[in-house]
Symmetry: C2
Subunit: 663 residues, 2 copies
């Protein structure tokens, strides 16, 4: 405050929540969600203040205002709804309200002389408001001001002064000249609903042919779309679809030298046929790809593309823009390394090169190219090995024109790095779920993901497996382990995905003992999969996805609560809708080998259940129904039958003799 | 990030601590303390970064830099010392260090060809550093670059490349062109030591004469100074010393009408003789006041003045600046009110008046006037009833010229309000200590005060009583209650104060049952005190203050830790110096009526004590010594003898047969 500013702005506003890093980054919501905002606002002395939440649906839209409610202890709360994808904004304004302050004192006055004199002061405030008002309000306020100091009995004038009609009128025409504005305007990135709730299936189109070496195409993928849709997935994610480099191509099982028929890794991008804007000829044409997108859309599925910013030595960029790469002193381009390992089939970009501006622009145009082809979801490969500033700029640029685009960050990195990528704009993020298997690990990690302030920007997408990661738990746990991880992913995460058909076909051979790589990884060869395999989890997953679709409680993450079970191998948690109209209670046996039993503690009050009355738990996977009593109930799970209950809780409304009385 | 900025700055810096409200407010330290700073800093990929803490001793001083140390998980820590009172600053800079990154990869290279090629890359980095360096370093680096690619054996060149000599040289001449600066420069208000550690005594000079109605003077106060000094106080705080209003003067016990000899409340400031820059004639002259200040200074005591910004109806401001007050519609000035109560002896300032700039300037000149008389400590009365912006401006203005000045905020208000006043600049703050009496209340409140982030700006000053507050605990607890509260204040708070002689003479009569006001309050009448009263706590307090002086552990607050005692009436805590060279352990019986006993749990490890060996606890109040064993020890306290042990912990260094072997 310098003497040049108006020192009479007496309200201060502090501790606004949500707010990410002092407003440096936006919070995230999806369309039609509410943003609940809290702040401390107060003034010196005992005057009453009015606190307004200001929001707008775009940075150049009109501000709308709603009054915040006091929570006590100088804390205020308000909320607003975000209607459509885009960048919304909010901030807070607060003022001393002289009329409310006057009214508060006035109500406590006892002495007649005192009351009379105070009425004169109040009438003056009402006159001032009349001068600010227009139309009907002005006349009304003028009349009231006159009555307050007129000839009526003191009691009648007192009643008028304290009437809610007068108060409301006064609040419509306040003196805002000394209002305080919070120092920051905060952003909300609003996405479409799929950003919060999505069900991903990843496959390699080239493995879609039943016959060993034949190369699957976009046409085969198109034919598989109805099947994927029936399983209940709504995002079909493809590894890179671009021409694959030949120089230093990797062979099967990551062999340094490829055989003549080895197809190479799709992540070694670029060949004579083109780079990041081209399609691998063996998959088909750009037209075929667009046809796949259309067919998917007809089935409620979106195609997600993998964007991996790196080049094979054959990529056209290497010839056309050698300045975008780092060079050895002998002038040759530096391949990727993690000494002593070399990755000679890959050239990373040099983001510190002098020509970085053109590099950025070109990489942005890659996204734009695929958006034009109809793609609106991108899974970004290793974003943590490219500068944060690049992604922040790129995502903001893309989303300004295309707010519907979803970016999934494939960063398996350190916590701060993953959080930074989420803050700077990635819509969803891969997580550590893949390595969180024990009760303690899962409880701690998912409490962090769903209850800490970081949930405002970090949206988890859970993967029990990926082409790069076959966790030990799946290697040794057999079919129950796959079921368990599927249930956990599908119910702990409103967004989850599997890499199939490896997942549903229980593929569990690592390259070698102690490795998390798949043996005969699809990254380096074409596989054939027997979808008719009797052990397949296809039906189980189909059911799981139907349960997700039918239970809105599972379509968002913030309501997650863990509940006590007196068995270290058993995990219990619930999710529910805001109105508690849909409550899902999950009990999982994490031990894939043995039956485990225990008592589950249900917080009846919290879930709106009445202590003395039974309630029904309906297992949506098996369709079994149980009648439970009280807060402590027994559960036993044989992993070889099913490692989990996914219960819908039904409160008792009639008599326990008839299940239909539960809803 | 727009395309116009340099997108090659790859390091990001986040979560800097300490930082108050995104840097809106400074943290506080006293001279010669350290500021420990932490931050997250990281880059994309696997490059190594260097993180520098930048600090300067004034906003226009030169930046000094120290390297921060990695704590793991992308967190870094550094520290700097603040030398002298004033406004210091700090911020952070971090960069990818290409040489360290190169070295990290280089160390892992195994292949001879690989090593040779990498040496050429490294030599180029060394040459670039040589070009940046001057003098001896330049020649040295040039020579090293040549050797790295020269004819020596590969092993020798490798050894050179990894040598710490080269590394240190390289770190002296880094390429900082793509360095990231943290977006904020953060402030530290550095005070002198008394801001952190001070011992306050408040008295009414007018009550210093033994004889009932006679009016004490600054001369009497001067005569009492050696006595106050002997008791161990270093701040002598006087209620307002200005002329007292006559219009509507309050009588004894706050009577609406004063008798002809009633002296009035010193907080009804201003009369014909002058206002806030004048001295009440019955206390003496300005010269007498300056003489009191000098005498106090000779005894190591500072005079603290009470600044209460309000006026009696007789204050010269009322006549000279009627525009600084609020008016009734009939043109008369509004007195203070809390309807239905009226305070007709007081006119508050109207900080919303049009002429607020002149009002601010005049009020600032009040502080300047008393600073000129030699006052450097102000206890500000009810700051929470004046605008926050006013205080923020005023304190910054005063401290720019007079960084030694200490402001104590007498705000007994809501938590947010008290914290805001501390943030915006008050050096010390009154607290809720006065109303925190139970073990649970004390533990919770002092954990908040000493362990939460707010400790960076909120410096508590603890008062067991004030002229306004005689807590129930003191009313009914007798002498043990006073002793207990004195020990708590003096050991929980590096700064504490008492209002005497009411405190040491155990004055405990409330005006009426249920009131916290003193009967026959000195605020409205002259009292006489019998300092020779045998029950006086004077010797107890003298001892307590000596213990504080001799034990640096008690001179700061952040080391406070509570320890378990298995008795709800007993509280145990410790404080220690940073090097643990001085450890004070306090055990208090909070029950003023009965002996209480319990087992105290001592965290031996944390206090540097060895589990198998006895240690000595030396009660600094009673001089008793006990030999304790292990982490659990028995304590029994009879409140009528002494309600507390104030132990100095002495670790065992020789044999337990001789107490002198403990230190």
């Amino acid at each position: 405050m310098t003497a040049k500013q108006d020192g009479r702005r007496r309200v201060v506003i502090e501790s606004v929540r949500p707010e990410v890093d002092c407003g440096a980054f936006p919070i995230k919501r999806v369309a039609r969600e509410w943003v609940e905002v809290e702040a401390d606002a107060f003034t010196d002395g005992h005057d009453r203040i009015v606190c307004m939440l200001r929001h707008r649906q775009s940075p150049d839209g009109d501000w709308l205002e709603t009054r915040m409610e006091p929570l006590g202890n100088d804390r205020w709360r308000g909320r607003f709804r975000v209607d459509a994808p885009g960048r919304h904004q909010y901030t807070i304004a607060a003022r001393v309200d002289r009329f409310l302050s006057w009214q508060q004192d006035f109500a406590r006055r006892e002495d007649a002389e005192d009351i009379g004199r105070a009425l004169a002061v109040g009438a003056r405030l009402v006159e001032e408001a009349a001068a600010r008002a227009g139309g009907a309000d002005r006349a009304l306020l003028e009349a009231w001001a006159q009555r307050m100091t007129g000839g009526e009995a003191l009691d009648a004038r007192r009643e008028l002064a304290l009437s809610s009609a007068l108060e409301e009128s006064m609040l419509r025409h306040p003196d805002r000249s000394l209002e305080t504005r919070y120092g920051r305007v905060l952003d909300v990135v609003v996405d479409r609903e799929r950003a919060r709730y999505s069900t991903w299936y990843e496959f390699f189109p080239r493995s879609l042919v039943g016959d060993g070496d034949a190369h699957g195409t976009f046409g085969h993928a198109r034919a598989r779309v109805p099947h994927i849709a029936r399983m209940g997935f709504d995002v079909l994610y493809l590894p890179p679809i671009h021409p694959i480099g030949r120089t230093n191509r990797k062979g099967r099982n990551n062999a340094l030298e490829a055989g003549p028929h080895d197809p190479g890794s799709p992540w070694a991008i670029g060949a004579a046929e083109g780079g990041h804007k081209a399609v691998h000829p063996e998959l088909g044409t750009l037209e075929d790809f667009r046809a796949l997108c259309s067919e998917a859309a007809r089935h409620g599925i979106e195609i997600a593309l993998d964007i991996a910013f790196q080049c094979s030595p054959d990529h056209p960029y290497v010839r056309e823009h050698p300045q975008w790469f780092r060079h050895w002193p002998d002038g040759t381009i530096q391949y990727a390394e993690n000494p002593p390992k070399r990755y000679e089939d890959i050239y990373p970009f040099d983001f510190e090169c002098e020509d970085w501006r053109n590099l950025w622009a070109e990489l942005k145009s890659v996204f734009e190219f695929w958006i034009e082809q109809g793609v609106a979801i991108f899974r970004v490969d290793n974003p943590h090995t490219k500068p944060f500033a690049f992604w922040e700029w790129l995502i903001a640029e893309i989303k300004r024109e295309h707010p519907e685009v979803i970016f999934l960050a494939e960063a398996f990195s350190r916590p701060r790095v993953m959080h930074r990528l989420a803050k700077l704009g990635f819509t969803q993020s891969y997580t550590y779920f893949t390595w969180r298997n024990t009760k303690h690990e899962l409880t701690e990690y998912f409490t962090e993901l769903t209850a800490h302030a970081s949930r405002e920007y970090f949206r988890p997408n859970l993967w029990p497996n990926t082409p790069d990661i076959l966790h030990e738990y799946l290697q040794y746990g057999g079919r129950p382990a796959f079921m368990c991880r599927a249930v956990l992913a599908a119910t702990l995460g409103a967004s989850y995905g599997i890499y199939g058909p490896a997942f549903e076909l229980l593929e569990n051979e690592p390259r070698h003992h102690g490795s998390e790589e798949y043996l005969n990884s699809e990254k380096y060869e074409i596989r054939r999969w027997n979808l008719a395999e009797p052990a397949s989890l296809e039906r189980f997953i189909t059911r799981l996805n139907r349960v997700r679709r039918e239970n809105p409680a599972l379509q968002s993450d913030w309501s997650l609560r863990f509940h006590d079970v007196d068995n270290e191998h058993m995990l219990c948690y619930s999710k529910r809708t805001e109105d508690s109209g849909n409550i899902v209670l999950v009990v999982v046996n994490l031990d894939p080998h043995h039956t485990q039993s225990g008592h589950v503690e249900i917080p009846l009050d919290e879930l709106g259940l009445r202590a003395g009355r039974p309630f029904q738990v309906h297992d949506l996977m098996s369709d079994a129904r149980y009648l439970w009593h009280g807060h402590r109930n027994f559960v036993s799970l044989d992993p070889h039958r099913s490692p989990a209950h996914v219960f819908r809780l039904r409160r008792h409304v009639g008599t326990e003799r008839d299940f239909d009385y539960f809803m």
